[in-house]
């Protein structure tokens, strides 16, 4: 039971952070399919930082340095989307797809190059961080980590920023009707850059939390196994609203962790369902919900459309 709780909470944090990232990007008017790639890069940044930090570093410092490294790499990677989608008016779905492929490919090349340079017979794409990971846990030996606290803080911050600040309201205006926003003096391009970069920050952090959830080594060949897409489902199911995203993330996180630990429960084991069912459920539920409620979708009106001043 306690195991289920641990996994549920940590997966919830991952999904919530990444989905909130997507939420910021889409509210500014840019569809971010590339969350998966951003997660991989955030994870890579964090993992490399853990690898190279000297072993005696204080846990507090480790936590913040690694977290910031993941956020920073996430932001840098998200700039690929920002430049293409905002300045060059590229097809956002195409660029996002490219970013997902590029994320895994580039991370694998980088990690393999580092591993091979250290030891020419080591051709794996794995980074280990057993020691550094200990800095994250609140209760040693469990998955209850400081990331959970950070995730809750960021959730509240997201809500406040989006609905209670001038910046957030302007950001959302750019996703609903950029021409109107521009006409009252809001710089749409800047706002969209901000939206995409925030999604890079949160997505990168989400990637770091994901690769430290339950494991202390990561093979970058595997990317992040579809969590970026699952987060996209969370965002849609959560109707682009932080508070609903948090609840959805909890639900989807529960399903996801059930697929890992369902054998520990007598009644679930007796159902004799393959673990794939629990993996599938979140996607099926979101598809059904989409089918039922898409007629009056809560999606930002102008998302996916490059801003063109001439359309005013």
């Amino acid at each position: 039971m306690i195991l289920l709780l641990q996994y549920t909470l940590i997966f919830t944090c991952v999904l919530m952070l990444v989905a909130l990232g997507g939420c910021f990007s889409e509210h500014s008017g840019v569809i971010n399919i590339g969350l998966e790639g951003i997660m991989v890069f955030g994870a890579l940044g964090g993992a490399l930082m853990m690898k190279y930090l000297p072993s005696g570093t204080a846990p507090f410092v480790v936590f913040w340095v690694v977290t910031l490294a993941a956020m920073l790499t996430g932001i840098l990677y998200s700039l690929l989307l920002a430049v293409a989608a905002i300045n060059f008016k590229a097809d956002q779905t195409l660029v996002g797809t490219a970013m997902n492929l590029l994320g895994t490919a580039a991370a694998t090349v980088i990690v393999k190059a580092i591993n091979t340079a250290e030891n020419s017979s080591n051709v794996s794409s794995e980074i280990m961080y057993v020691e550094a990971k200990k800095a994250f846990s609140i209760v040693p030996g469990t998955e209850f980590s400081w990331f959970m606290v950070l995730a809750v803080v960021l959730l509240i911050a997201s809500y406040v920023i989006l609905y209670k600040t001038r910046f957030g309201l302007r950001l959302m205006a750019c996703g609903e009707h950029p021409q109107a926003a521009d006409s009252v003096g809001i710089n749409v391009l800047k706002m969209r850059y901000a939206g995409v970069m925030i999604s890079g920050l949160l997505g990168g952090l989400g990637g770091l939390v994901y690769i430290t959830a339950g494991v202390s080594a990561w093979k970058f060949e595997n990317g992040v196994a579809g969590f970026g897409f699952l987060a996209l489902a969370v965002m849609i199911f959560g109707a682009w609203k932080p508070q609903r995203i948090a609840l959805t993330a909890l639900l989807f996180g529960l399903f996801r962790s059930l697929s890992n630990v369902y054998t520990g429960f007598e009644f679930l084991k007796n159902l004799n369902l393959p673990s794939t069912v629990y993996n599938m459920l979140p996607y099926i539920i979101s598809l059904v919900v989409l089918a039922l409620f898409s007629k009056n979708s809560a999606a930002p009106k102008a998302e996916g459309i490059p801003y063109d001043k001439g359309m005013r």
Binding site: I31, I33, L80, A84, F88, K89, A90, D91, T93, L94, V95, T97, A98, M99, N100, L101, L102, T104, A105, A106, T108, V109, K112, A113, T116, A117, S120, V123, S125, E221, N222, G223, A225, G226, F229, L230, L232, A233, I236, P274, T276, V277, N279, M280, Y283, I284, S286, L287, L290, A291, L292, S294, K295, S297, A299
Partner: protein, 371 residues
């Protein structure tokens, strides 16, 4: 006189597309080369040449032919996926679900071959139907429930991955995580090689390649020479105008997604029924083939004939990546190059606008001189 002829050539959309694709490829290779230089400058030039040369890197003609054959085996499914993507794109739909439809096709064809012991043509048809069904679901959600096809496709990609993993677990080889080879269970389900296997000295080279090219031609004819193709393209260009003219926009959307799905599903059967690789029932991510199909479609300028060349090119460098010196580099350098190429494809529109702007500016200047 000569200059104006050259300019009018540059004005042609086909020429511009070709130029833009070549620029994408060059930039992709450049980024790959820079990455290699950073990793280890000593062998970088040799490595990038290995990637570009692929089978030419071998000295013996038999070995060259054999590796050319292997490249062709993986080209056929990619070509089908890129056809699927470009067909849907012509109708204004972004079929990111080619990946899932490919998975569904793989599941259906392998299951029919190994569990139901069907001959190959029935397996191919099953794959087409499975892909088409998945595509049609996205199409129906789009037509009747206004669900964005990108989102529904992403969900269906993952649903089909987990479904196929479950479906194929009974035909798994107990010693590993892969399914049985087709040859060991049901020879009749192998695609006929029609002499191609002997020609390339590689038993996996089958009728898959000619079949895929045939489908290209069929899709080109369907899009450009038939009433249905005209209607589909019209729906893609302006849904409301098409509806106003009496075209069945909802039906057309569903039909398009079903055809696109069928193409991707068939692509999977062309790979798995050639026994080139087996399905790993534990895989946790959607195979990249469908996503690479997006790359090939855009690199080929969204043209069925262009897709033949772009699909071959992407598999050519992917295969070439296996040739690099493994003590210094890794094979994924090719994935890096092809993903950079897809990323650059996003800038094609901008490149074309840029070219036209330059041409306009030059014409204006000339106009001024004549006065």
């Amino acid at each position: 006189m000569q200059a104006s002829k050259k300019e009018s050539l540059l004005r042609k959309p086909g020429v511009q597309t070709l130029l833009a694709s070549l620029i994408c490829i060059l930039l992709g290779l450049l980024v790959g080369y820079i990455a290699l230089l950073i990793i280890n400058p000593a062998g970088a030039t040799e490595a990038i040449l290995d990637v570009i040369k692929n089978f030419w890197a071998y000295s013996k003609p038999e070995k060259q032919l054999k590796n050319f054959g292997v490249t062709l085996v993986t080209t056929a499914p990619l070509l089908m996926c890129s056809l699927s993507v470009l067909f849907a794109y012509k109708v204004g739909l972004f079929n990111i679900g080619a990946a899932g439809q490919y998975v569904a096709g793989a599941g259906a064809s392998i299951y029919c071959a190994l569990a139901l012991h069907m001959p190959w043509y029935l397996c191919v048809i099953a794959a087409i139907l499975a892909g088409a069904l998945l595509g049609a679901i996205s199409g129906m959600l789009k037509a009747y429930r206004n669900v964005n096809e990108v989102i529904s496709c992403i969900m269906l990609n993952w649903i089909s991955l987990y479904l196929v993993n479950t479906l194929l677990t009974p035909v798994k080889n107990p010693t590993g995580k892969d399914t049985f080879t087709i040859a060991s269970q049901n020879q009749a389900a192998l695609l006929p090689t029609a002499g191609l296997g002997k020609l390339f000295n590689q038993k996996n080279v089958t009728v898959a390649v000619p079949l895929a090219i045939l489908m290209c031609v069929i899709i080109w004819v369907l899009l450009n020479k038939t009433v249905l193709g005209y209607e589909l393209r019209a729906t893609g260009l302006n849904k409301n105008a098409a509806k106003y003219c009496g075209m069945k926009d909802k039906f057309n959307i569903i039909l398009t997604m079903a055809i696109a799905g069928g193409l991707a599903g068939m692509g999977a059967s062309l790979l798995y029924l050639s026994d080139f690789e087996q399905w790993a029932v534990t895989q946790a991510s959607v195979p990249a083939m469908g996503f690479n199909g997006i790359a090939a479609a855009f690199l080929g300028g969204l043209n069925p004939i262009g897709a033949i060349f772009s699909s071959y090119f992407i598999q050519h460098i992917t295969r070439g990546g296996a040739n690099v010196n493994m003590n210094m580099y890794c094979a994924q350098i090719s994935d890096l190059i092809s993903s950079v190429i897809i990323y650059m494809c996003g800038f094609v529109l901008f490149m074309k606008q840029f070219m036209n702007k330059k041409l306009d500016a030059r014409e204006n200047r000339k106009g001024g001189n004549n006065k």
